[in-house]
């Protein structure tokens, strides 16, 4: 195999790995090809050189555990700017919590956690910070727990006229199939015209 091709493979491996990639893992992957008088180490150095030469935005660095592509330190300010420009998505836990509050408000933290089954303090804080929910009062219960509800910003973000414009929960029924494919395939159905099949 040509040297360029070998370098390309290593580049793809390091890029796709979700952790810094150890040289010996690369060696394992490459063990099925004959490297001739080359070594994985020298190939990595050459790949590193490709990024070092020229004015590039990313570089190949050796961190404690292995090799990793990173953006050049000098460009951090630009990436920070990007994060203020790009709209963000809500995480699944955030969406879930927001859904519970939207449909069940006013609701206490204990009630939210009962439904979700997990501690929800951090996600509530995120939603408050993003001004999607707020404390709307206290409940007449021992300890007078705080109750949460959605905000005006929530309606704006989700383009809702008012809270009653949320999709009807009955629609959920449409989404779940009455019979799943699995169940149906297990159901024996009588056939027309071929009545006596099973009997002798």
């Amino acid at each position: 195999m040509e040297k360029d091709k070998l370098i390309a493979i290593i580049e793809a491996l390091i890029f796709a790995s979700d952790k810094p990639l150890k040289t010996r893992y690369i060696e394992q992957v490459m063990s099925i090809v004959d490297l001739g008088n080359l070594t994985v180490g020298t190939l990595i150095e050459e790949l590193k050189g490709i990024y070092t030469m020229g004015n590039r935005g990313i570089e190949l660095v050796e961190v404690a555990e292995g090799w990793q592509f990173r953006t050049k330190p000098g460009l951090a300010e630009w990436i920070k700017r990007l994060n203020t420009v790009k709209p963000s998505k809500l995480s699944m836990p955030a969406l879930e919590t927001l859904a519970i509050i939207a449909y069940r408000q006013p609701i206490t933290r204990a009630e939210i956690e009962y439904v979700r089954g997990v501690d929800s303090g951090a996600v509530l804080k995120t939603l408050i910070d993003r001004r999607l929910i707020k404390i709307i009062g206290k409940k007449e219960l021992p300890g007078r727990p705080l109750v949460y509800g959605t905000t005006q910003e929530f309606l704006e973000v989700f383009s809702l006229k008012d809270i009653s414009a949320l999709p009807n929960l009955d629609d959920i029924k449409q989404m779940s199939s009455s019979e799943t494919e699995l169940e149906r395939n297990q159901t024996e159905l009588p056939l027309p015209a071929t009545e006596p099949t099973d009997e002798e």
Binding site: F69, K89, A99, I100, L166, L169, I172, L189, P192
Partner: protein, 241 residues
């Protein structure tokens, strides 16, 4: 009728049909028929023999297979009875409808296969492995989401709740603190009570554990005292004077 020996591999092969339209398309192709000019008696016969054979081989069939069988039989019957000319225009032609459905189904089946040839992420191509330490957290005030995301999120919670509800109910029902209150309330009326009678009628392991914990706590706080007259005998609880 002799039973056809059931062979595992037949089973597997026959399940490649996704539905009745898929089976019809197969029969059309297998017999090199023209999709625009399907000989209805022939295809109906083939289709029904096929269903019968699947049944003999113990292949479970979806009800939709039978719906199409009925449609085929209806079309066949209509063709045998000449339709009066003046009626013909109002009545939609079921044969035409079936042909259109077959053509459309075939089109999307092929489209699905074409899509399978595209460069698929995590099969043909990979994106940067997302490293936790490099993960960028957007600080933008704008949020991308719509109300149907909320609806789906709510549904996923409901689905999960179905499995977990029971566990929560149990915990809720028998908190130790609550059981302590129950016991003290009951015993204050009768002065003495047997341990067994503290348990609810259809008690669970959890009820027993919580009740024991409650009693132990009350004993520790010297609010109760207990007596057992003989080994394995009834445990009696009294209010501590």
């Amino acid at each position: 009728m002799d039973t056809v020996p059931v062979q595992q591999d037949y089973r597997v092969r026959l399940e490649i049909f996704e539905g009745p339209l898929d089976l019809l398309l197969f029969l059309i192709r297998k017999n090199e028929l023209d999709i625009y000019d399907i000989p209805i008696s022939f295809i109906t016969e083939q289709y029904i023999s096929y269903l019968a054979m699947m049944r003999e081989l113990n292949v479970e069939l979806a009800s939709e297979f039978l719906v199409i069988a009925a449609t085929l039989l209806e079309i066949k019957a209509r063709m045998l009875i000449p339709t009066p000319v003046e009626q013909e225009e109002d009545i939609e032609d079921p044969m035409q409808e079936l042909t259109n459905r077959l053509l459309e189904y075939q089109l999307f089946k092929n489209a699905g296969m074409q899509m399978n040839n595209l460069n698929m992420l995590y099969r043909d191509t990979f994106i940067k492995g997302i490293q936790e330490d490099l993960k960028s957290e957007s600080t933008s005030p704008n949020i991308e989401a719509d109300v149907y995301d909320l609806l789906v999120a709510f549904k996923s919670i409901l689905d999960r709740a179905k499995d977990e509800q029971i566990a929560y109910m149990t915990v809720e029902r028998i908190s130790v603190a609550q059981r302590i209150n129950d016991i003290m309330e009951r015993i204050s009326l009768v002065k003495s009570i047997s341990f067994d009678s503290l348990l609810p009628e259809d008690y669970t392991k959890m009820d027993v554990v919580v009740t024991i914990l409650a009693v132990l706590e009350l004993l520790r706080l010297r609010m109760l005292r207990c007596e057992q007259k003989e080994p394995f005998g009834t445990i009696w609880l009294y209010v501590h004077e």
